[in-house]
Symmetry: C2
Subunit: 170 residues, 2 copies
Amino acid sequence: MTPLADLSIAGQRLCFQSIQEKTAMTEHSLWRFSRALHRAINERQLDDLEAVIDEDVEWAIYGPIDMFPFLGARRGKEAVLEAVRQIAENVSVHRFDRESIMLGVDTAASMLRYSLTALDSNQPISLRVAHFAQFKAGRLRSIRVLLDTFDLVEQMLGRSIHLPRMTSCA
Amino acid sequence: MTPLADLSIAGQRLCFQSIQEKTAMTEHSLWRFSRALHRAINERQLDDLEAVIDEDVEWAIYGPIDMFPFLGARRGKEAVLEAVRQIAENVSVHRFDRESIMLGVDTAASMLRYSLTALDSNQPISLRVAHFAQFKAGRLRSIRVLLDTFDLVEQMLGRSIHLPRMTSCA
């Protein structure tokens, strides 16, 4: 897959019928949001993103906010744009692959594997991400994002964190 | 929500039309799998689960396998049942809430918040989980599960892991 192309759909059956009925030939809101988000992160151009975010958006990326202050919950467009600005100051997106995807009329969920670069260290970071999004009139109304946060923390630290093995394990 | 009831759907629009066309009035495979999985974990009765898992199932729960050897990738029914047996030796499910869900004909994705109990310490654990699943003839064909692993590790350790703040953050 070419970097930042947004087409890989790993064998998931989609709800095409419902989508086609409601949106005719128009593009799903997810694709426009995804392009705008990646442009905002990599080019620090937030105008496309601003156009596809609802004023009252609910936004949450679950993760350790002590280390990554741009994670966590945000409410409203301005707070979300500021969080994305901070993400853009810290990482760039090298490529991403969608491993699973489900699309509804105004909803979308996917699991992705991102190849990022940490801007201060130029260090590559591989990160698995799951999101559940709702759109309203083509704009993002809510999104919840789950990350494999322990893997992320270890990569950012550049070392393993020693963990005990759970005792009950065979 | 009552413990282990599996009905909370947090405002996600579902692809009802596609589902109804293909499956008429039958229950979605996700619900049967979910009941069987929770029975396997809490009652250590794996017969229901065995009946809803494909022989060649692909299974992955992403997380630190050094600490949690029952996480990671498995292929085939026997390997998956053994992993679930090990999960059942380590945790029980107190309750779970589905925060987001999407259903396709043979696919399902949800984001859930689990309240678990670690069996060796009797310690409560709160864990956010996202899964993407595919079914074939009513049986689980593949599932990928993402956890908020850093949060999980800290709860299992019973202490915070000190993290540096990323330097580029405002």
